[in-house]
């Protein structure tokens, strides 16, 4: 098992290198020239050339890439074109806000998904099951930005329970976290349901029933632990998805996280920030998957013994 985990670690590093290379190439071959954008409309060709030289954009592709990777290894993500500061501190300053939102969103997601998934699995084929399945489909088919605006319209503009936008108090977190969580809960509910159905038809569950245990103890105490594995893998994937998926929610709610940072950078073609956020998101995806790999043996002894 240690071998398996070590191999996953090496894979993770390779994947990060690959993501860095692809991001670099994409932005290198894009028609938008950052030097022109920085220099502004009235710049002379000499000024543009000077800026290009200053940024190192006049060097060959390979040199630029090696330089970029070398800097990455020192934790240097480059300097923002527009804000004239280092990218890494910019991202680190925004990270806590996104992490708060992510944690709140995942809590909502898992709580709703587990509850409804278990109920649906226990009442398989019945009215409750079909309603939950239908609702989960509505969840995964909902455009995030419309739900965000709908929650704002109902709970902020009309009822006035929550602030329209911003950051700072617990009340600010509720609507963005609900937007992320309620929609994501659809996938969880379906996953939990299918995992639970799989477990509930096994012999040991019938034995537990036959011993005279209450239905609640059989479902929560005996069946649920065996259905947890896919859910842990899903949370791992979600950690990464959240990092890149928060752009819309952060834009609608004016949430000062890395999604908003990326969004502003994209409009200004601030390439180092875009690359920095992409890398941090990829890192989150890889770390999320690794986390799931490392947690799995603690939840499931069968994996530990392999």
């Amino acid at each position: 098992m240690a071998f398996f985990l070590a191999r996953r670690l090496v894979q993770a590093v390779l994947i990060l290198l690959g993501v860095a290379a692809i991001t670099f190439l994409l932005l290198y071959f894009l028609p938008a020239d950052p030097a022109v954008l920085i220099a502004g409309r009235s710049a002379t060709p000499q000024m543009v050339a000077a800026i290009r030289h200053e940024l190192g954009l006049d060097q060959p592709l390979v040199m630029q890439f090696l330089h970029y990777v070398g800097n990455l290894l020192h934790g240097d993500l480059g300097r923002s074109y527009t804000q004239k500061t280092e990218v890494l501190p910019l991202i680190l300053a925004r990270l806590p806000a996104t992490l708060i939102l992510m944690a709140a969103g995942i809590v909502v997601e898992v709580a709703l998904g587990l509850t409804f998934g278990i109920i649906a699995a226990v009442r398989r084929g019945g009215f409750v099951d079909r309603s939950v399945m239908m609702l989960s489909f509505v969840g995964v088919s909902s455009p995030q930005f419309v739900v965000a605006l709908l929650l704002l319209y109902v709970f902020a503009a009309t009822l006035g329970w929550f602030p329209m936008s911003g950051f700072g108090t617990a009340r600010h977190v509720v609507l963005p976290a609900l937007t992320l969580g309620v929609l994501g809960a659809g996938w969880y509910a379906r996953m939990v349901r299918s995992a639970m159905i799989e477990v509930l038809r096994q012999d040991y569950v019938r034995t537990a029933h036959a011993k005279g245990l209450s239905g609640r103890r059989v479902v929560l105490g005996h069946a649920l632990p065996n259905a947890l594995l896919p859910i842990i893998a899903m949370v791992g994937i979600d950690i990464g998805q959240f990092m890149s998926g928060v752009v819309v929610v952060e834009a609608v709610y004016g949430w000062p996280g890395i999604g908003q940072l990326a969004w502003q950078a994209i409009q200004q073609v601030d390439v180092p920030i875009i690359m920095g956020v992409t890398l941090v998101s990829a890192l989150a995806i890889v770390l999320g998957n690794l986390l799931a790999d490392f947690v799995a043996p603690f939840v499931d002894p069968r994996i530990r013994s392999q």
Binding site: Q11, I15, L16, G18, V19, I22, L26, L27, L30, P31, A32, R124, M134, F137, V138, V140, S141, S142, P143, Q144, F145, V146, L149, L150, L152, Y153, A157, R190, M191, S194, I197, G240, M243, S244, G245, V247, V248, A251, V252, A262, W263, I266, Q267, V269, I274, V277, T278, S281, A282, I285, V286, N289
Partner: protein
């Protein structure tokens, strides 16, 4: 035909079919259904105070902040959204089929390389990639479609790969090869047909994802550019008025939801019908 009959027997799939047919008809016959042009800023399209008109008898869905008929814009927006949905997703499924099939059939170094590349794309923050590309490429309808296709093929490739690996080991393929059939013949005549159910299911489910992604990009202002209407940019244009003119946001929003939901319901039912082993699962 059997599949269609089975579909109409399931209430949820029937609902999906009806909505999809309605949306398709609306998109095709938009110029004949709409009383107004989607781009006309109507003289009586705004109230005396200059505010957009709420839904009523003259304007079924009301008018937007420039005094244009929202119903007409939604109808013509259906064209944009559906074209992107079908084209982008068609391309994505085609790429996914090709990569997954080749990787699964070739295996060895070439197959490995293809799958490692697919894994790499899985770790790529998809929405961020789409946003960055769309923002930097001067978005138009076709660019948006291509960006979405580039992001969405990965999942199809993974599934096709797994299925192809399984198929290649099966006796009938081994028999075919020992009879002297070439690679091209085996792939096209014996493996591809077995992958069609998967392609159809993901082709349908993928349209829902694509319609949502297009709407999201347009909502961020980097999808289809106004004045050409798409469901996403109709909302993008009026999002700051959502308190005073909620219909401008929530009518197109509800239509996006209904369309995505319908494709999801049909796709789910198709999976049940075409692949009984998956029945009742995810």
């Amino acid at each position: 035909m059997r599949v269609l009959r089975e579909l109409t027997r399931r209430p949820s799939a029937l609902f999906g079919l009806i909505v999809v047919v309605l949306v398709l008809l609306a998109a095709i016959f938009a110029p004949w259904i709409a009383h107004f042009s989607p781009d006309d800023q109507l003289a009586d399209g705004l109230s005396l105070e200059g505010a957009p008109l709420p839904p009523g008898s003259d304007h079924l869905f009301g008018t937007d902040t420039l005094g244009r008929d929202l119903f007409a814009r939604v109808l013509f927006g259906a064209r944009t959204s559906l074209i992107i949905g079908l084209v982008a997703n068609g391309v994505a499924v085609a790429i996914g089929l090709l990569v997954g099939l080749l990787a699964g059939y070739l295996r060895g170094a070439a197959g490995n390389l293809l799958m490692r590349f697919t894994d790499l794309m899985m770790a790529f923050p998809a929405l961020l990639l789409a946003i960055a590309l769309a923002a930097l490429l001067k978005p138009s309808l076709w660019i948006v479609a291509m960006v979405i296709a580039l992001v969405n093929w990965v999942q199809v490739a993974r599934i096709v790969y797994t299925e192809t690996r399984g198929l290649v080991e099966r006796d009938f393929i081994v028999a075919e090869r020992s009879l002297g059939a070439g690679n091209g013949r085996i792939i096209l005549l014996h493996i591809l047909p077995h992958l069609m159910p998967t392609a159809i299911v993901w082709g349908t489910l993928g349209i829902a994802t694509t319609v949502l992604l297009e709407a999201t990009l347009s909502f961020l202002g980097i999808g289809v550019q106004p004045p050409q209407p798409s469901w996403g940019n109709i909302i993008f244009e009026s999002q700051s008025y959502f308190q005073d003119a909620p219909w401008l946001v929530f009518i197109p929003g509800a239509i996006i939801l209904a369309t995505a939901l319908s494709f999801n319901l049909i796709g789910d039912a198709l999976r049940d019908i075409l692949d009984p082993t998956q029945r009742g699962r995810l």
